[in-house]
């Protein structure tokens, strides 16, 4: 039995996840090897110590603090039925290649792709007029790492962080009657954004293509999708703000847990 096999066997037994064969195999091994017996006993002791650690009591008043922070207004809850613009577009175009093509053509005129900026170089970032591409519903093995929303000050917005192995995507849906700006600010340094796509009432201007802070004017039902490489950020953390000039109307934070950065 290799060290790895023994290690896994011992841990299965410690967790009570062993089969009868596992138990027999372990008894045989630790009966033949003092070092492995010692190793098993030490691991068992560690698990016992951990299991014996007493829970800590929350401080008095925490319950009241929690309850005081809960809004009495049920409308603060996210609406599960709220479907993102991307999802609507995706569902609309699935199985309708003509619509999908038409959509791509129309959106292609509205959409900026910063990937080209990354290719051409930052000095061209001031002129985004030629950087249009096509926007497709997001595909691939992305999973939702975080999501949040705000509904206040006449602005309803939601943001989601999507991840796959080497890339991240931040999608923001905003619905507002007035003109605001969506500001995407990564907490960690970003060297390149390789994709920016806009929908609805969102606009892109070349002057706003700043790696530290992406700004998009929005009005009405709008959507912003930005993407980048996870290696650029380490653990992906980002603040999405809705601003009116210098006034911050609302802020949303998106963060990947350390675990997913593995």
């Amino acid at each position: 039995m290799t060290d790895t096999d023994f290690f896994e066997l011992a841990n299965r037994v410690i967790d009570g996840a062993e089969s009868d064969d596992d138990r027999t195999a372990l008894n045989t091994v630790i009966g033949q090897s003092m070092s492995r017996r010692l190793e098993f006993e030490q691991l068992t002791a560690v698990a016992s110590i951990l299991d014996a650690v007493r829970p800590v009591e929350p401080p008095e008043g925490l319950r009241n603090r929690i309850l005081a922070a809960i809004p009495r207004d049920p409308s603060r809850q996210a609406a599960a039925s709220r479907v993102s613009i991307w999802q609507q577009i995706s569902e609309f175009t699935v199985g309708k290649p003509v619509y999908a093509l038409a959509y791509a053509a129309v959106v292609g005129l509205l959409v900026g792709a910063l990937g080209l900026v990354a290719v051409i170089g930052p000095e061209t970032a001031g002129d985004a007029s030629g950087t249009y591409g096509t926007m497709a519903p997001i595909g691939g093995a992305f999973s939702v790492a975080d999501q949040t929303q705000i509904d206040m000050n006449d602005v309803s917005a939601s943001a989601v962080l999507l991840l796959r192995e080497s890339e991240f995507v931040i999608e923001v849906d905003v619905d507002t009657d007035d003109q605001f700006e969506v500001v995407v600010s990564p907490i960690s340094e970003v060297t390149t954004w390789y994709g920016v796509e806009l929908g609805g009432g969102a606009k892109l201007t070349g002057a706003q293509l700043d790696p530290d802070e992406l700004r998009f004017p929005v009005v009405g039902a709008s959507a912003v999708r930005v993407s980048g490489l996870r290696a650029d950020l380490g653990v992906v953390q980002c603040i999405v703000s809705i601003v009116d000039g210098d006034r911050v109307v609302g802020e949303m934070m998106l963060a990947e847990s350390d675990l997913r950065a593995e």
């Binding site: 002791a45 951990l50 929690i66 996210a78 949040t148 963060a255």
Partner: protein, 180 residues
């Protein structure tokens, strides 16, 4: 405390009975606080995390998918919050690790308290992700599958990381001469 199931309470809250949310707070504030404390090793951070978790749970209740256990879903939020809070603190040394000062109960000896402190310090020296794994497995009693759901990891990885984390803890505790 209400004897209603979590799912039933969630349905009440979603139907507009905000006060029913109190039952979820009463039921889970202690376990969420404990998980947060074990991960952040800081009482104030654990309080803040617990408060934020319940606010997020409330605000996202409509997004909860009842095919999962409510408990697991809430933990998913809790662990993420605790890890994010801990990440903000960065580079905190073991000297900053807090233990909870409590009156010495009959069954509590100074040796036991010292051991718990050493365990907490050893846990805190683990990688944050591994720390969460140990907390979920040993302090909260989750199964491999549930931990996989909470941490968005395949079960195979849950096991291998848990085993490695325990091995590291063993070494830390032996070094601290508390393994017996």
């Amino acid at each position: 405390m209400s004897e209603l199931s979590d799912q039933a309470i969630v349905r009440q809250v979603l139907a507009g009975d905000v006060s029913a949310f109190t039952h979820l707070v009463d039921r889970y504030q202690r376990v969420v606080y404990n998980a947060a404390f074990r991960i952040t090793s800081n009482q104030q951070d654990a309080e803040d995390v617990t408060q934020t978790v319940f606010l997020k749970v409330y605000e996202n209740l409509r997004l909860y998918n009842s095919k999962y256990r409510f408990y697991s879903w809430m933990y998913r939020i809790a662990i993420n919050e605790a890890l994010n809070q801990q990440a903000k603190r960065r580079k905190k040394t073991s000297a900053d690790v807090e233990t909870v000062a409590e009156p010495l109960a009959e069954d509590r000896t100074y040796e036991k308290i010292e051991l718990e402190q050493q365990v907490q310090e050893a846990i805190y020296r683990l990688d944050p992700g591994d720390r969460a794994l140990v907390v979920l497995k040993h302090f909260q009693g989750f199964s491999y599958d549930e931990i996989g759901f909470i941490l968005d990891l395949p079960v195979r990885k849950v096991k291998s990381r848990l085993y490695t984390a325990r091995q590291r803890l063993k070494e830390e505790l032996i070094q601290a001469k508390v393994s017996g």
